[in-house]
Amino acid sequence: MTVPTQTSPQPGPATANDVVLTVDRLNVMYQVDNPVHAVKDVSLTLRRGEILGLAGESGCGKTTLAYAINRLHKPPAEVTSGSITFHDRGGRDIDLLALENEELRAFRWSKLSMVFQGAMNALNPVISIRAQLEDVLTTHEPKMSKQQRRERCAEVLRLVGVDPARMNSFPHEFSGGMRQRVMIAMALLLDPQVIIMDEPTTALDVVVQRGILQEILRLRDELGYAVIFITHDLPLLLELSDRIAVMLKGEVVEYATAEQIYRLPAHPYTRRLLDSFPSLTGDRGAFLRTGESSARDHATEPDPTKGKRP
């Protein structure tokens, strides 16, 4: 299955100014008794304001990649080779792997923030939302006055549709969807250029999920940050993102625009993934009810009604 990856699908011309993050042949290993090569030779570019989807089944290395980009990986995880470069707004290039403690700390969240897989648990249960929001500001913007801080927190909460009046509440007093919104608000606090979202809506109800996704899109349009959106729900990515990278066992096996992936999936694995999501309104036919093998058969059959296959 070692399909050589296109290092740069380049659906459009990418000027140096345009790109905000470059990942080049990144390798991450878990140095355990039987070392796990969790990320293999992954190369990606992220453009300003772009939503980059990262799809793949559980355990393929999506989270590992995301953590490596933010240098959040801990031993036994280890970046064995490759580079990650952040192209700052001013044009300065930052080699993320070379950042030292204090620089790294200052870099985090101010330029690149994250919304985590289990956002339900990403908030400290015993201190108030406000304290957790202000923590970021006191650390990164020590010069801000108390008043300014409070205003900024209220502002981001308003952005994601949470009533700032509830700022003094504790995480358990919010529903899952609201907590996730608070996390997004927190990610926006310092006006970052990149937000990595690791399965931010997987645990949520479809209706709630939809609401949050709309929020992300709207804010992206307003604020212009780039997003790396990680999920295994390919249809969701197809609807949401500009480009998609499909990962399989640590490798990016397909990297193209959403349109391309939907219409012309090149890799068999991508096709299989697409098939795993029956269309809601599409033809029901004999799709599932004729037995197990039929799903695979169906996968190779052209479906004239949808026209999604060559």
């Binding site: 029956p278 309104t281 197990e292």
Partner: protein, 307 residues
């Protein structure tokens, strides 16, 4: 052949908030019938009471009122003692529904023994292997000796299905049987369930919140909202021609690659949400009814259908 009739099922949970003790009606006057050879899907948002219905059917929870009656093909009711021979359940999480301490064989041999289908040791073993083969877990001898953590999620869920079939159950309740599985293996497990259903003429209650698989996998769909069934009917009718605003909302929220950038979704207001539960649509009757199934003459509540 067993039919399961559910009539006016109600479940109240006591909830304590502050000084007051109130009850939460998790399931409110739900009725349906599971017929051999047919699959009924139960869909609805999180917390709408789907699992509670399933747990009452599996007799893990006692209904507050209402009736659950299994009827044999000869028309006789199933007694309490035999109930579990006839009705079984597949749980949502294959990682939690198998005891990490016991081998796969134990998980299958116990129900066989308990329901008097085991016989001697060799016979039990043979039957266990047969069951494993039926769910495509081969070589059966090897799998039987393993422990749950030595199996993948899909394999475990197959074991869970085999366990539900072990007592010879004719009615199977599957509570979100694939939502914890990886996308690429979900369909495999669902197809297996479908095959077994066809082979044994099972009556299946398929619980999910994924409208797409509900449509493709089942004959009838019930849409639940806050404990009530708000829409029911043949699968295609409900999905392709949803009458109830809540069903419409659900459908519009589902990801749709074709709808790139032009989402039809608008989040409902609380007032709209409150109105959702007031009446229900029955595609079989083709008319609006009260949530407990009595026909009404009124028109559709809430918003007009979008699109």
């Amino acid at each position: 052949m067993t039919t399961l009739e559910v009539r006016d099922l109600v479940k109240d949970f006591p909830v304590r908030s502050g000084l007051r003790r109130s009850t939460l009606r998790a399931v409110d006057r739900v009725s349906f019938t599971l017929v051999p050879g047919r699959t009924v899907a139960l869909v609805g948002e999180s917390g709408s009471g789907k699992s509670t219905v399933a747990r009452m059917i599996a007799r893990l929870e006692r209904p507050s009122s209402g009736r659950i009656q299994a009827v044999k093909s000869d028309g006789q009711g199933v007694s309490d003692r035999e109930y579990r021979d006839h009705v079984q359940m597949v749980f949502q999480d294959p990682f939690a529904s198998l005891n990490p301490f016991h081998s796969i064989e134990h998980h299958l041999a116990r129900p066989l023994k308990l329901h008097g289908r085991g016989g001697d040791r060799a016979e039990t073993r043979r039957q266990v292997e047969q069951l494993l083969e039926r769910v495509n877990l081969t070589p059966a001898e090897d799998i039987a000796q393993r422990r749950p953590h030595e199996l993948s999620g899909g394999q475990r869920q197959r074991v869970a299905i085999a366990r539900a079939l072990a007592p010879g159950a004719q009615v199977v309740v599957a509570d979100e049987p694939v939502s914890m599985l990886d996308v690429s293996i979900r369909l495999g497990v669902l197809n297996l369930l479908a095959r077994l259903q066809r082979e044994d003429d099972l009556a299946v209650l398929y619980i999910t919140h994924d409208l797409a698989t509900a449509r493709h996998f089942s004959d009838d769909i019930l849409v639940m909202y806050r404990g009530r069934v708000v829409e029911r009917g043949p699968a295609d009718d409900v999905i392709l021609n949803p009458q109830h605003p809540y069903t419409q909302l659900l459908a519009s929220a589902a990801p749709n690659p074709d709808a790139r950038g032009r989402s039809r979704f608008t989040a409902p207001t609380e007032a709209e949400r409150a109105a959702f539960g007031q009446r229900a649509y029955d595609h079989n009757l083709g008319s609006w009814v009260t949530p407990d199934g009595t026909p009404t003459s009124e028109g559709a509540p809430g918003r007009e259908r979008v699109g």
